[in-house]
């Protein structure tokens, strides 16, 4: 359903994602290291991804002291 403008935009995001993934993978030195590549988010810009999926807020919480109400 996407227009050609939208298609081109997403195609550019996809191309950018491949560069980003290559950079991220350059740090993957040991066999168990994380790998990065194409997935369902590769045609989103980082901003679109952030706005849509990274919407969790961290509430300020106390440092763990070893004591909880339960123990």
């Amino acid at each position: 359903d996407v227009t050609s403008d939208e298609f081109n935009r997403r195609h550019n995001y996809f191309r950018d994602s491949k560069k980003r993934q290559a950079r991220l993978n350059s740090f993957s030195a040991v066999p168990q290291s994380a790998t990065y590549g194409i997935n369902q988010f590769s045609d989103l810009s980082p901003k679109q991804f952030r706005d849509l999926y990274l919407t969790g807020s961290a509430t300020r919480v106390p440092h763990y002291s070893g004591l909880t109400p339960e123990n």
Binding site: L24, A34, L54, V61
Partner: protein, 214 residues
Amino acid sequence: LPAKFDWRDKAVVAPVQNQQACGSCWAFGTVGAIQSVHAIGGFTLEQLSVQQVLDCSIQNSGCNGGSAVWALDWLKQTKVKLVPQSDYRYKAKTGICHYFSQSHDGVAVKNFTAHDFEGQEAAMMGELVQNGPLVAVVDAISWQDYLGGIIQHHCSSHRSNHAVLVVGYDATGHIPHWIVQNSWGTAWGDEGYVYIKIGSNVCGIADSVAAVFL
């Protein structure tokens, strides 16, 4: 502490969910912890309503985002029972809050704790083993491209933006790591899971961690 511990082995972790195009990670994390702790208490593992938390926890902003700690605080203060998912289905849209009578089947939150475990991830492991899966808020910017493996770099602490469910850890290999359930479907990561190195607060995994008591 055991070198490896995974609540999935006890069949108390529900399958990976997909939040779709809705910023509801905070609700998925919250509900994931509650339903697991309920199952650990001897009840049948049952999926509870994420949509109820999304619609009714008005201190949060529905699909525009929220905080798991605020959601837990709302559940504790109001004593609202979380109803089964089958009674209040997920729509990936914020909607009007539906109310159920107190006699309706559901699970209420008695208490919760929320702590910063930075520098004390061993204590966080203890909390996980003792209480059940934990809700954590992480920096997930690099997760846009994640395929699998253990994240050790490119993930900052103190910039949290995404709520997840920590279901276990594995310290038997070269890289001890957390086992984390995400809510972006099974096509993402390792069947919906991501692994994060233990010990240096990678992705801010220890910055804000909540445990639930029912």
